[in-house]
């Protein structure tokens, strides 16, 4: 299980506290208004932001002291997930753990994951020669080959249309089904993404991250803040 234990962060006037756990084998959506701290939470888990206090644990092992690349975490950002001057193959290869990249079997491994995401014949294309959906698939292939158990998605599919977005989330779900020891945390603005792809939803608002709730309950019995965010009740004038 991935845990954020009494995590506290502040940047200027902005403050965020989190004391939450993300279970294995499930996708947890992080939802909340703009500027609530959703991406900051992911940055703290990934190691890009050092909190003032608290810790991040993976299977009860503290990982908050580790450098981002040493954590058991793969992350896809909103943009700039691929190096534009490298081919799809080379971009995926960067996901291989150190020491594995030179192994003879690595070539076949990379080809296999590219095949799994439907890019078997597009190895040598550079990102600019791929569609938005294909670029996202390369990012997912790299997550697959890195085989790190925590996957953080910071709205990497936000620019895709609904159909393509659903395809990407299906690939993520498939990855999770293949390896239920993984833990996926995704930031989203779109309630539909959460309804269709997530198992749990954690609400972030006013500097606080709530414990994840099952997706059905989250939408069926929304709190006042969630309801206002979702537009199901009219704001008081």
């Amino acid at each position: 299980m991935l845990k954020c234990e009494e995590l506290n962060m502040s940047q200027g006037a902005f403050q965020l506290s989190a004391d939450v756990a993300f279970p294995l084998g499930q996708i947890t959506a992080i939802m909340g208004p703009s500027g609530a701290g959703k991406s900051t939470l992911l940055s703290a888990i990934a190691g890009f932001v050092t909190p003032q206090s608290g810790q991040v644990l993976w299977h009860d092992r503290v990982i908050s002291g580790l450098a981002p690349g040493k954590r058991p975490v793969s992350i896809l950002f909103q943009d700039n997930n691929l190096f534009p001057h490298l081919t799809a193959f080379e971009n995926v290869k960067l996901g291989l753990p150190k020491g594995h990249a030179k192994a003879k079997s690595s070539h076949q491994q990379i080809s296999d994951v590219l095949g799994q995401v439907g890019l078997g014949d597009l190895h040598s294309r550079k990102p600019a020669q791929l569609s938005g959906g294909q670029q996202s698939r390369v990012g997912i292939a790299r997550i697959m080959i890195a085989a790190r158990p925590v996957v953080l998605l910071d709205e990497p599919f936000a620019a895709l249309g609904p159909g393509l977005k659903a395809e990407m989330l299906t690939l993520i779900r498939k990855m999770l089904l293949d390896d239920p020891s993984m833990c996926v945390v995704m930031v989203t603005h779109d309630p539909e993404d959460a309804k269709h792809a997530a198992d749990l939803v954690a609400w972030v608002d006013q500097g606080h991250v709530a414990q994840p709730a099952p997706v059905d309950r989250f939408f069926a019995q929304p709190s006042a803040a969630v309801a206002q965010y979702l537009g199901t009740i009219k704001p008081t004038l």
Binding site: Q11, G47, F48, P51, A67, P68, G69, K70, H85
Partner: protein, 508 residues
């Protein structure tokens, strides 16, 4: 406050580079000052040189900016066939070896030049290119294209939507859009030209000289070369540093943020201005800048085959020095760009204020206890040239490195990419274009350098610009024309090869 843990670039190369640049600029000045006998302060001739330097630099910068405004505006609002070629060629004078440009200006404005021939036909008296106005004319020739390009960037950064909106409201474009942009862009353009002219040496050496047309840098040369008065040279170098620092402070105070906002990068369609007048302005500027180049080529090509062998050897030495200089410059620039702090930005502009002659002399003083310094004339020249080209290389590379680190640094860190892999697989391939451009620029500026080499080189160490200058001094003008053409061709070729090399396979 939560702190960002992102740091993919190694910081130590920047620390070393900053230390080296500080040594090469301030340390060499200290070395010269330490050997000085301070009995004599600055004399009246030195203060005259200071006055001349400031006044010619002010007038050169003022005229360059004043003339560049209509040229840049005309280029910004007119689209015609060959426009991009015209803009590219506007970059040529900046790369041009000073001694070659002076030769070209002499062919146009000198005694027997086409302007004076024309004046003679009209029965008007000749004009002399030597002295104050000659120095200013040469500086405007070099810097008008530079300012034009800087202002053109400013004009192109105004979103097309603003022009469309102004046209639909029939609002005056000048005060509404252009003046705020100029207010933001002109001070720094003025400063760059002012600093270049403030530290000018080769122009003053060839077109100035004498008590009434000596720059501080030329006075330093005279103090070192003819009197070996290290104290006077050091004092003059300090005066030069102070002048540059004051100029930088004034410009910093005058600078305002350009708050025009972002647009949607549509093609800029302009609804103002006279096309005929704009094209006439562009043609006049083009003729002013290209006529000297054309004269060099016309006069020099027939003499190329007649060049003596020592000129070809000098050309080979120049190529060697330029290669070495470019390698040193790009190494320093990359190191400083990786570090990217405010301190490094300051260290990176120090060379603009430094006297190349004092840097060179300081290095010779440092070498002297260990070896015969004259044996190191060419390596020292390469180091000095690299130092002087550094601000321009940094301006090309640093923003790009910064952008790559900002865009892809987190991704690289999340992939546990080592620093070596980050630099070799991401940073260098992605920054190929500006690196190629910066190498070309450093090599071209070094190819044409006529600075520190004039102090220490014997005949066996002559570079091509020095050999050409000596030919001009000996009134062997045909041979000088051939050497000028050779130098022009080599300089532009070296720049083109490096710049082109950076673009190959750098399609994204």
């Amino acid at each position: 406050m939560a702190r960002s843990a992102v740091q993919i670039n190694p910081r130590w190369p920047g620390g070393i580079a900053a230390g080296l640049v500080a040594f090469l600029t301030l340390g060499t000045l200290a070395a010269v000052a330490s050997r000085a006998q301070w009995a004599n302060g600055l004399g009246p001739a030195d203060w005259a040189a200071v006055r001349f330097t400031v006044s010619q630099a002010l007038l050169s910068a003022f005229l360059s900016c004043l003339l560049a405004i209509p040229v840049a505006r005309a280029l910004a609002r007119q689209h015609f066939k060959g426009r991009s070629l015209v803009i590219t060629l506007l970059g040529a004078p900046f790369l041009l070896p000073v001694v070659v440009a002076v030769f070209g200006l002499l062919a146009v404005f000198g005694r027997g030049g086409i302007v004076n021939v024309g004046l003679g036909w009209l029965g008007l008296p000749e004009v002399s290119i030597y002295g104050f106005h000659g120095v200013v004319l040469a500086h405007v020739f070099f810097n008008l294209p530079l300012v034009t390009r800087l202002l053109l960037q400013g004009w192109m950064s105004i979103p097309s939507e603003r022009f469309r909106l102004a046209a639909s409201l029939n609002a005056p474009i000048g005060p509404l859009l252009e003046r705020p942009m100029l207010r933001a862009t002109l001070p720094s353009a003025f400063l760059v030209v002012f600093l270049i002219c403030l530290t000018s040496f080769a122009v003053a050496l060839t077109l100035g000289g004498g008590p009434r047309a000596t720059t501080v840098e030329l006075a330093i040369y005279q103090a070192l070369r003819f009197e070996f008065d290290l104290g006077r040279a050091a004092l003059l170098a300090m005066v030069q540093f102070t002048l540059c620092a004051v100029a930088a402070l004034f410009t910093w105070r005058a600078q305002v943020a350009h708050a025009i906002g972002a647009g949607f990068d549509r093609v800029v369609l302009r609804f103002d201005g006279s096309r005929t007048l704009d094209l006439l302005i562009i043609a006049a500027a083009f003729a002013f800048l290209m006529a000297p180049l054309l004269m060099i080529v016309l006069r020099g090509v027939p003499n190329l085959a007649l060049l003596p062998s020592d000129i070809w050897w000098a050309a080979l030495r120049s190529l060697t020095v330029a290669s070495l200089s470019a390698i040193i410059c790009i190494t320093l620039a990359l190191g400083l760009s990786l570090r990217g702090s405010a301190l490094v930005s300051i260290v990176g502009v120090l060379p603009l204020a430094a006297s190349s002659l004092v840097v060179g002399t300081g290095l010779f003083i440092v070498i002297y206890p260990f070896a015969n310094p004259t044996l190191f004339a060419l390596p020292v020249t390469a180091i000095v040239n690299a130092t002087l080209a550094l601000p321009f290389a940094l301006r090309a590379i640093a923003p790009v490195i910064d952008g790559i680190s900002r865009d892809y640094g987190r991704l690289a860190i999340s992939l546990d990419m080592g620093k070596f892999t980050w630099i070799s697989k991401v940073l260098l391939p992605r920054a190929r274009r500006p690196i190629g451009f910066a190498i070309g620029l450093a090599a071209a500026l070094s190819m044409g350098d006529l600075g520190v080499i004039t102090l220490f080189a014997g005949n066996a160490q002559e570079t091509l610009p020095l050999a050409m200058y000596r030919l001009m001094g000996a009134y062997q003008m045909d041979a000088a024309a051939g050497a000028a053409t050779l130098l022009l061709g080599l300089t532009l070729t070296v720049f083109w090869i490096c710049d082109r090399g950076g673009r190959i396979n750098a399609e994204v």
